[in-house]
Symmetry: C2
Subunit: 189 residues, 2 copies
Amino acid sequence: MHPILKSYFQDLTQIDEEKLEALSPYFKEKTVKKNEFLLREGEVCRFNYFVLSGCLRLFSVNNEGLENTRYIAFEGKFGTSFTSLITGDPSIEYIQSLEKSVVLTITKDDFFYLVENEPAVNKIYRNILESAYITTQKRIYDLQGSDSLGRLKWLLKQQPRIFNRLSNKVIASYLGITQYTLSRLKANL
Amino acid sequence: MHPILKSYFQDLTQIDEEKLEALSPYFKEKTVKKNEFLLREGEVCRFNYFVLSGCLRLFSVNNEGLENTRYIAFEGKFGTSFTSLITGDPSIEYIQSLEKSVVLTITKDDFFYLVENEPAVNKIYRNILESAYITTQKRIYDLQGSDSLGRLKWLLKQQPRIFNRLSNKVIASYLGITQYTLSRLKANL
DNA sequence: GGAAAAAGTTGCTCTATGTCAACGTTTTGA
DNA sequence: TCAAAACGTTGACATAGAGCAACTTTTTCC
C-alpha cells in the first residue's frame, strides 16, 4: 500500500499490516494533468479519490456561469462528490485537478463494500463524514456571519497554503466573492 | 422503544425487535418548553436529541449579534451540535426549542458506545452524517449561488413546512438575510 | 382579558460588493 | 521562444440588501 494512504489508515485506525495490504489492490494509481476534470456536472460519480500529490477542487457553476468552490482536497486527503456517490444521482458539482496530480482511485462499489465489511474502512469513512460535517458547519456560519474581509482573514489564518498554491480566481470562488473584490481586499490588507 | 424512533431504525436498518428493545433504555424522554435552550454557545454538548414532537433549531450568533440558523430538526429527526459532540470542544452554536417539544435524549458516551458496538446504530449515525453532508453541500452552493429571492423560492419549494411553523425572523436567519428583506421579498412574490 | 413585549411591515438612506472595461503581467503550449 | 490566452489590478458606475425608525399586528403571560 502506498505509504501516504498507509499513514492515513494508521492515524485513524488500529488496522494490522496484513489487512492493510489486503486493501491495497482496491486502489489504483492515476496521474491527472493540471486542469483535467475527473467528474463533470450531470455525470454520476463512480470513484472516490485519495490525493497523493497535487490537489483536486470541487466546485459548481451557477445559472449565471459563476463558479463556487466548495472544497479543495490536498495531498493526503480523500476527495469526491460524496453526494453523487451516496445517492447515485447525477452530480451538481465538478471535480477538477488544479495541479498535475497523482491520485489513488477506488470504485464506488468497492468503497461501499469495504465500508460495510471492513471495520477500518468504516471508521475511515465515518471520519471523512465527521470532518466534512465540522468543516461545513463552520463554513456555513462563516459565509453568513462575516463580510468579505472577515472571510478572507479567516481563510488566511486557517488555510494559508491555499494562498500559496491556488489562483486568486479560485480563492475568490471559494470565499464566495468576485476576483475583483478579492483583488481590492488584498490591496488593503 | 418509542414508535417514532422504532420506525426510524427500521427504515434504515434490519435490526430485530429484541435488539431494538435493548437500545430503548439508552434514550430518556424529556419535555422542553417553547424557546427553551438545550445548549448554549460555549458549553460542551453532552447529548444527542431525537425529536418526537415540536422542533429544535441550531443557530449561532455573530459578532454583531445577528443570528444564523443552520438547521431545524423537526419530529422524527436527530438534532444536536455534532461538531461539539465529536470534538468535545465548546459549541459555537445554540440548540433551542422553537415549539413545545418532546425529545428523546441519549448521552454522548452512550451514543458513541453504540456507534462502535451496535451495527444498527453505526448505520444510523452514518446515515445522519451522510444526510448532513448532502444537505450542507446543497446549502453551500445555494447560499453562494443565488440571490435572496432565489434562496427564498428554493426554500419554499424544498421545505414548505418551515413557512407554516417558523417565524419570519427565524426563516430570515436561515436564509442569511434580514427580516426586513424577507418581508419585502414576500410582499413581491 | 388586557397590558406589555415581540414580531412584522414599510419608507428612506447608505454601503459593500458586483459589473464592466481597460490595461499590465504571467503562464501556456506550439 | 514567442504569440496567444489567461490572470490580476484598478477605475467608474450600478444595485441588492442592510440599517434605522415609525408604525401596525400578533403573541405572551399575569
